[in-house]
């Protein structure tokens, strides 16, 4: 381990996240644009739990194909073109699932019997899942209501605990994540099931959690730098560099079980129910980690820079060794020193030599006075 990796490992990075905010904004903007176009063009592939319908599911027993199932539907005068028929293999058992609009009870019964006869099982062994259209609409409405209530309450909580601008930043990140996750479902045409909704909500919670931990650091630094003339951009940068390792580690720790669920659970064990769920989670967690760095904090920075407190210092930012200086001492370099330094090292991603120990530790750390807490 050397160079960049070592600095990352030891939390000594000085990446100018805030200065590169537009990279994140443009990338997210593109993704959001694609999402919205896709939502208008092909919408979402809603499962029967949301729009109502009937689903038959049974063992294939090697006796029925998708075409044969389709012809059984036609014999019963069911509009087979709208039917979704798929085979699912879970372990040794291969199953077929036929998903239809809501049927008359009589038709439903005869379809069920015909299917059972074809495969050679009892009608009772064909499982039916039925959802009425009104129930589906109700479920969707409930979920949207719950989501909105959740966002409002959490925003209020963040505004109360930290400040309103942080609530705005967190909200932007969460909405961003949900939209992009929905976009992935729209583009890929994966079916949206209640499990998907659960996954979306997880993503939302996770993204919010991640953002709050970063904001907690920002809040801490804001207080630490309260008496110095440090531009807000520096506070954001310093906080993000300080929490970078935490964000990465937590994301790894959160993604590993999900990845195991995806690869082992659905790949090796063949539990289909888990597959799409894990996939949605994986996408969402990646987005969540990304958005707390590239959306939440930059939005907060943009808002705070325009506030009365920080507007005088707007546009100034310490990068490279300057950032390390701010991070360690809590005061910015003098303007002249900064100009010289900026000319020397303009890009923090170029591995700059680690600043001399004396520069960072110009004030040796001392134990905090007891009276301050």
């Amino acid at each position: 381990m050397s160079g960049r990796w070592q600095r990352l490992y030891r939390g000594e990075t000085t990446i100018n996240f805030y200065g590169r905010r537009n990279v994140g904004f443009i990338a997210s903007g593109l993704l959001l644009f694609v999402t919205i176009v896709s939502l208008f063009a092909q919408g979402l592939n809603l499962g029967i739990d949301f729009k109502g319908g009937v689903a038959f599911e049974m063992s294939v027993n090697g006796k029925i194909t998708v075409e044969e199932a389709r012809s059984i539907l036609e014999e019963n005068k069911v509009e087979a073109s709208g039917a979704k028929i798929q085979t699912l293999s879970s372990g040794a058992d291969e199953r077929i699932r036929i998903q239809l609009e809501v049927l008359e009870p009589k038709v439903e019964e005869s379809v069920r019997e015909d299917l059972a006869t074809k495969v050679g099982i009892k009608a009772g062994d064909v499982s039916i899942e039925k959802v009425s259209a009104t129930w589906g609409r109700g479920i969707t409405r409930d979920a949207v209501q719950a989501l909105l209530t959740f966002l409002v309450l959490v925003s209020l909580f963040i505004a109360w605990r930290f400040e309103a601008r942080m609530a705005a930043g967190a909200l932007a990140a969460v909405v961003h994540d949900v939209l992009i996750s929905v976009g992935v479902y729209s583009i890929t045409g994966l079916e949206v099931t209640p499990a998907t909704v659960v996954a979306f909500l997880t993503i939302l919670g996770f993204s919010l959690y991640d953002t709050i931990v970063v904001f907690d650091k920002v809040d801490e630094n804001q207080k630490r730098f309260a008496n110095t003339r440090v531009p807000y951009a520096d506070i954001v940068n310093v906080s993000m560099n300080q929490t970078l390792m935490r964000s990465l580690n937590t994301t790894v720790a959160a993604v590993l079980p999900v990845l195991s669920l995806l690869v082992l659970g659905s790949g090796v064990f063949g539990a289909v129910a888990l597959q799409e769920f894990a996939l949605a989670l994986l996408v969402g967690m990646a987005t969540g980690a990304y958005s707390s760095i590239f959306i939440a904090s930059p939005v907060l920075g943009l808002l705070k820079e325009r506030s009365r407190e920080y507007s005088a210092l707007r546009g100034q930012v310490s990068i490279g060794a300057d950032m390390a200086h701010v991070m360690a001492t809590g005061t910015p370099q003098s303007r002249r020193a900064r100009q010289v330094d900026n000319a020397a090292s303009t890009d923090a991603s170029i591995p700059t030599p680690v600043p001399a120990v004396e520069a960072i530790l110009s004030h040796p750390p001392r134990p905090r006075k007891k009276s301050r807490r």
């Binding site: 959802v131 959740f150 909500l201 959690y209 720790a253 079980p257 990845l259 539990a271 888990l274």
Partner: protein, 510 residues
Amino acid sequence: MPKRNLLVSLISILVVAFGLFLGNIIVGNTPSLGLDLQGGASVTMTPIGEYEEAALSVAVDIIRQRVDSIGVAEPEIIRQGDTVVVNLPGVKDQQQALDLIGRTGAVEMRPVLRTAENPENTTTTTGAKGATTTTVKGATSSTVAQSSTTLAPPSGGGGESRGRAVPQTTVPVATTVPGTDPETGLAPGQTVYAGQKDGLIYLLGPAGATGEVFTNEATAQIDAGGWAVSVNLRDGAAGEDQWNALAKQCFEGGEGCPSKQIAISLDGEVISAPVVQAPSFNGSVQITGSFTEKEANDLARILQFGAVPVKFDTPTVQTVSASLGEDSLKAALVSGLIGVLLVLLFLIFYYRLIALVVVAGLGVSGLLMWSVISWLSKTNGLALTLSGAAGIIVSIGVTVDSYVVFFEKLKDDVQAGRTMRNSAARGFDSAWRAIVVADTASLIGAGVLWWLTVGSVRGFAFFLGLSTLIDMFVSYFFTRPSVLLLARTKLFNNGKVLGVRGTSTAAEVA
């Protein structure tokens, strides 16, 4: 923080976690599995039209009794607002399940043609739902009708002042059919119903009235030393007239009602079969007999809501095959465990020795989680569903994050030259603040989802909330004391256990 307090906290949580775990094992509580992990049928029901809040809980009780009667292991009947979810694990034929719970709670009044002891069930238990047993007992032992069920207008409007004084009326009941098979010689319109619990079989005539004749005001009260149920009749043709026609028929004891008894049945099961004491009733009916308080209340409740049975729509029906459920469970378990293992390996690689605290901490969290789920499974019928399991797997990330936040702060401080012991206390304070804020947001989310949604999302919310609470609990009572105590040991007072060169850097500067 004195060392003793830390030790007390650490030992307490270990005792609590292991104690709860062993306690649950000894009592035999294990987490019960939801339908999607076990296989079975699930039916969601929503009431149609107007209904009363109390009527709904009666309807739920009735459904519960029916489900119990077919012997489904661990049925789950959950009310979520207006919605009733009935989960029947292990039931494969959902049609049977639907038929069973789809019936509306219909109360009917039928004349009793004959009564007989059920030959298969002669040992009579205490009459669970009324005093029908005692009707016969009263007849054979010919005691005063203290023990017979009778029907009378409450203020003696038309008949005998109180039905108790006429024990003779019950005598023919027992004597007409002594032990004969009631199933022979059925006339059209006659039905046999068995009051199994009372060991009696009733041969009933066509329904003379339904529960609709009563208003939904029925009360159980103590009357002349025993429990009695009185219920009001509706006015006019739909109520009083219909009831009186039936009462008159039975009071006269003619061919249509030789026993002079009217059977009150709920969904075909005879609840009570009182003897009619008057040919006509004016506004209200009183049923007396040797009821216990509970029996009287049950009867009153049935009469009360028999008039307004809640009709249900079944908007969703779902069956999961047992094999599919088992596969999912196995997959979720194995991949979950492997996932946790990977996370731990990663943390040990990154944080070195101190990551052992995470291993122990996750163990404590796991024990607590298992105990709470087992306990709630037993007491509240909670079931672990696939989405719940997913919530738990996801919460691993959140739980581990509490440690990561803490250890990162520790590293920062140690790197800046502070001693491990000093950093541990400072690090926890600031990490704890972040954990509380972030976990509170998670709890708000879990709470909102739990209140506002039904089904799988609700299950997910519950387990997310639970694991968040356990996370906070373990962070404070386990992680804090163990790291703080370890930081005082010689071995740990060195940045190397964290994977940093902290103390050595400080030494160079000095």
